[in-house]
Structures are given as C-alpha cells and as structure tokens.
C-alpha cells in the first residue's frame, strides 16, 4: 500500500505544532490575506517562518491556503506573497484561482499548486483538465462517492486529496453566495455566515407549507470517513484531509491522533477489524461537536444526514487542561487550565505518546503553591502530581461518569 499523507488544519501556530506533534504528515494554514476562514487567527509571515522551521524537524509539510475566489483588487501583493512563501520553505499552496497556477509557476516555482475543493472537481475529466492546466494535486469535491473516488483515482496520475473529517458545505463548495445575499459577507472570500445552517419557512406561493415545529434547514452533519480510510489508501489517494481551521487544539489533537493511529494500524496489518474501527470511531466522537456521518461517500445524502433544529451539539468530553511541563523525578506536572475541573474529578490524559491513561485529581497548586480545589480560571497555570509519565503537549479531558 502507498504511503498516504494525513493533512490537518490549524488556526494558529500553537495548533499547527500540535497537529504535527500528534501525527499529521502535513498541515494547512491560512495567511493573513488571500485565505478563506477570515475569523481564523491567520498566520503572519513570522508565524509561517517559525512553522516552516518547526515542520522541518518533524519531516512534515506545510501548505498555505490562498483559496479565496479572487476579485481583481484581491490580487494586489500576491506575487510578492507567493515568493516569500516559496523562499521560506512552504511546500505548496491551495488555490481556487486558475490564474495562480501561472503566477505561482513564474514567481514561486518551488511551490506545489493544489486545486481547492472550491472548484468542486467531481470527475476524472475535470481532474484531467486541471492536470493539463498545471495542477500538482487536486482536492476532490465532497460530493463524490467512494466508488466514484476509486474510479477517478484509477484513471489519473495526478495526486488526489480527499476530505475525511469535519464540517461540510451543504452546497457545492464555492457555488454558494447565500451569505452574500443575506449578510453582505462574501462566502467565497472568507466571510461565510453559514446561512445554510439557519432555519427557513417553506412557502408554496403565499402559503406556508413547512412545519412550524421543524423548519427547513440545509445544515449538514459533519463528515466522518473513518470507515473508508482503508479503501482510500488502497486506491492510491495521496492525502487524507481533516477539515477545521476554526477548531480547537483539543479537536486537532484528538482527531489527528486517532487517524494517525488508524492509518498506521492499516499500514501494519493491512486492514482494520470492525472492533478496531469501532474503537477509533469512539475516539473520534470525543472531539465531535456536531453529529457526523459519511456524507456522500456511501452514495446519496438522505434526511438522516441533515440537521433539523440543532446546529452544534457540543463536545462529549470536556477538554480541561494542556500540559506545559513534566518533571519526571518529582512526578510533577505543570498544566494550563482550559475548562473547569476540580479535585476528585476523573481525568483522561492523551497525547502523541500517551493513550488515554486515567487518574483522579488529588492536590493541585497555583504558582505560589497555594492549594487549589477548583480550577476555574482559563489560562491559569497549575501544578499537580500524576502517577504516570506525561509530556509537553499532552491534554487532559474530564471523564463523564
């Protein structure tokens, strides 16, 4: 089986480092300009430079999203920007503007050009067209089924990238300007208001025909393609992509680690048993903030794959702390508080080298060594003893009883 890339999103430098530490082969991030997800705290040039140095130590790759649907004014400064990215060692850019294929070749020849899902490449003919236009990799549309993905993969030599996890547009990506109409925010230039997740009355002429207790929504469940990873590896997909440049470090850590282990297990044993798949699904559900399904991978998206009446369902496990340091000699750990927890709570620790080890919170101390019973100040640094070894970058989550 071919070596497949696990590609993770990151909102900022810290999350990008976590993604790589937790096992991503590559991360994709947005710069301050030219990128969708305007609310993401996108990377400065200095951040990108630091990330370039960091990823090299792990042998990881870095792709920068330059994926807005450009209007004429938006191109200002793009040549200089691409050249800077190339010079600092960024591996590739994710684009939806075809003109950038030509511009990047000229000013930043070291950058691979990946065609964004914004262009909704849904068939092998579109892949061929984009190959001839100069694309180095193509992100397939999320509307393709697994069978169709296989057919496309077998028909082309162009590396393909497929989404395996995270939120999904309910419309074809890039083919929706509902947000523009409803809020004047350009859906394709980083301002999407997610109008598809709102609730709508349905009229026939002037007559309301929707159910007042369950209005129409176009909101889709999130994607979870864990059951298809093995097939994707077998058919030669180049990269498995996790969505979520707006997501938390907890989400990034948990989802990346789970898919990392899954991919490695498939690589080791050639397949995944149903039991193991169920285990990994359970792990993924710990970072779920919206119900999920397999989207179009199994074929059609019927009503069970839509959300009516709810938008997000919240995570099922509380992420409560991030490990900054561990003193092995004293079994003493310094953590940063993320969410409320208290003495007596049962905690599960997970990290790149720690697999869901549990312990019960005993004594905790603040930086002046005062005893703390209730950790309720986000960003506060606390010290506590842990009966097993943890590492910088590990995370604590509260176990529901």
């Amino acid at each position: 089986m071919s070596k497949i890339e696990l590609l993770a999103p990151a909102k900022d430098l810290q999350k990008a480092k976590i993604a790589i530490m937790y096992g991503a082969d590559a991360v994709y991030v947005g710069g301050k300009f030219f990128s969708l997800r305007s609310r993401a705290s996108n990377f400065t040039i200095d951040d990108l430079r630091e990330l370039c140095a960091f990823k090299k130590n792990y042998g990881a790759k870095l792709y920068v999203t330059v994926n807005i649907v450009f209007h004429d004014d938006d191109y200002e400064g793009i040549r200089e920007y691409l050249k800077i990215l190339d010079d600092m060692g960024v591996d590739g850019i994710i684009i939806s503007s075809l003109a950038l294929l030509r511009i990047a070749r000229k000013v930043a020849p070291g950058l691979e050009c990946h065609i964004s899902t914004q262009l909704s490449s849904l068939n092998s003919l579109a892949v061929q067209t984009l190959k001839e236009y100069g694309a180095d990799r193509i992100v397939l549309a999320r509307e393709a089924s697994m069978d169709q993905i296989k057919k496309i993969a077998y028909s082309t030599s162009v590396p393909l990238e497929v989404f395996i996890h995270g939120g999904m547009c309910s419309n074809y990506s890039g083919r929706c300007v509902l947000s523009n109409r409803m809020t004047l925010r350009d859906a394709n230039r980083g301002g999407c208001a997610h109008s598809c997740r709102w609730k709508y009355h349905l009229f026939e002429g002037d007559q309301i025909i929707s159910n007042p207790n369950c209005l129409l929504s176009m909101s889709s469940k999130d994607l979870r393609a864990s059951a298809y990873v093995e097939e994707m590896i077998r058919c030669g997909i180049a990269s498995l992509k996790i969505e979520g440049r707006m997501k938390s470090e907890y989400y990034i850590g948990q989802v990346v680690k789970t898919y990392r282990k899954m991919i490695d297990e498939i690589g080791l044993y050639g397949h995944l048993t149903e039991e193991r798949l169920a285990y990994y699904d359970e792990e993924l559900s710990k970072a779920e903030n919206r119900p999920s399904d397999d989207g179009f991978l199994s074929g059609d998206c019927d009503h069970s794959k839509h959300l009516y009446g709810i938008n997000g369902a919240g995570v099922t496990h509380d992420y409560v702390a991030y490990v900054h340091r561990y003193d092995e000699a004293r079994s003493l750990c310094m953590i940063e508080v993320k969410n409320i927890f208290k003495r007596g709570d049962k905690i599960e620790v997970f990290g790149p080298e720690v697999d869901n080890e549990q312990f019960t919170i005993d004594q905790m101390f603040d930086q002046n060594w005062n005893l703390v019973e209730l950790a309720n100040k986000p960003t506060q640094l606390l010290f506590l003893r842990i009966p097993f070894k943890v590492h910088q970058g590990d995370m604590f989550r509260k176990v529901s009883l």
Partner: protein, 290 residues
Amino acid sequence: MELLVTLRKRELLEKVLPFVDGIIVGKFFTSSYHCSLKEIVEINVICKANQKKIYIVLDDFISEDDIDALYKYLEFIRKLEPDGIYFHDLGIVTAAKKYGLSDKLIYDGKTVACNSLDTAFLLSKGIDSVVLSRELTLEEIVRILQNNPRQIDLQIFGHQRLSYSKRRFLTNYFNEINKEFDYLDKEDLFLVEEQRDYKLPIIENEEGTFIYSDYVFEMFNELPDLIPYLRRGIVDTLFIEDQTVIDLCCDLHRLTGENKSFLRDNLYQNHPDRYSSGFLYQRTNITKDE
C-alpha cells in the same frame, strides 16, 4: 453584443425570436430547462432557418458515473452544430475535445468567475468566452470588460442563482416531517429565513437543489454603456412570466442610452416585480470582524 434568451418553453420561440440574436436551450443535466431533445432539434432548425444562433447549456456538475451519458449528450450536441455551449464543470473541457467542440465552450462558473486574470487564463486555454459571476459590482464588471473586451458574457436580466447543492433539500425535508408533497421541478416554492423577509425561490430536480435571488436582476440603466464591450448578454427567464419575457426581449432589442429610463419604467409599470440591481452597487466583502 448578442442578445440571448433562455428558452424554457417551445411555444415562446417564435414570439421572442424576432428580438434576439440567439436562444439558449438545454436538457439532460441542466437545471430548470424543460425542452426535450426532440424540441431542441426543432428549435435548432428554426433558429438556423432564421439566421439566429443557438447555444446549449450544460451547467451542472457531472459525477463520474455520468460520463458515458455525457459523451452521448455531447454527440447529440455536436450534430446540432451549435454556436456555443455554456458549461459549469471543468470536465467538459476535456470531454469536448473528443467531439471537436472545444472552440464552442463558454465557461459559466456562476460564482467563481470574478476577475480579469482567471478570465484571461481560461481564454488563453481556448475557452471562447466567460460568463461573469453575479455577485460582482458594476465597477468590477467594467474593469474585467476593459481587460478582456468582447470576450465576456453577462447575465443582464433575471433571478440570480445563489446556491447549488447535490443534496435534495426538499425531499429530505418532507421526509423529515413525514409529509407527502409533489415538489420536484415546482417553480412556486420559496424559502423565507426566520429573521429576514427575503423570499428565495427554491427548485429541486434530479440534479439537486437550486436557490435563487428573491429579486429580479435588471440593468437597463447600466447596459447601454457596457454593450460595446460585451460579447453576449443573457436574459434568464426562470420564474419570469411569458408575457414579461416577450416584452422584455422586445425592449432590450431596442435599448439605447436615450430610451433606457423609459423602457425601464415601462417594465416596472407593465410587469411589476421585485426588481433590483443586485450586487451592482453592493460590495459583499464584509468579514465577520466588521
């Protein structure tokens, strides 16, 4: 500028043909075009007999499973010897080569053809023309036209498509609320968001679900100045009443800088509707931080 109109009913052909330079028809993958293949053949003969142009619209995304059917449809189109093919899926570029139709292709990306450089890129690859996205301002349109004169098409009238999904929003919704309803291809269904009063037409067909603008886009005041630079102007007749279509084509046929206000007033008075200049004077680049 060629004046083109989308023909959704065979019986309107003779009524609009005197006023337009060409007809846009489609079937099969295309959304909301109701002509049968037989009717398209007939329309083609009539257009050619009247020295009018005929354009085929093929504006849906093609799944891998539909490629063989696409080839058959392209073979059908080839025999028509059309003047152009409006397409949406970049796969059509590769498929069209096989049928010698490459020089007929007109890219209508609906929402992703927003700048001069992408337009120039596609033209350099042999695409005949590009339809600009509907969410552009007049200033942006003028700039792109100046950069690519006589190589740009523009929707000049009609409801603007706001979204296109493979998901069957109506089917799924009626299943969710356990209601039986004959909704496929219905043109009098609307969405109204809880907090806003926009009445957005919604259509579901075999290809998915399409949502359109609540308003009818018109640009009588702006069009005369753009005509020298435009390759084609498209009147989209979806949701528009037949008599409005006929009168509109007649008025656009004789539109000049001098009579534009008069003709616009005529339209507003004789065929009242929710007309709007759409995004022509409305930038949509607000971000969430603003």
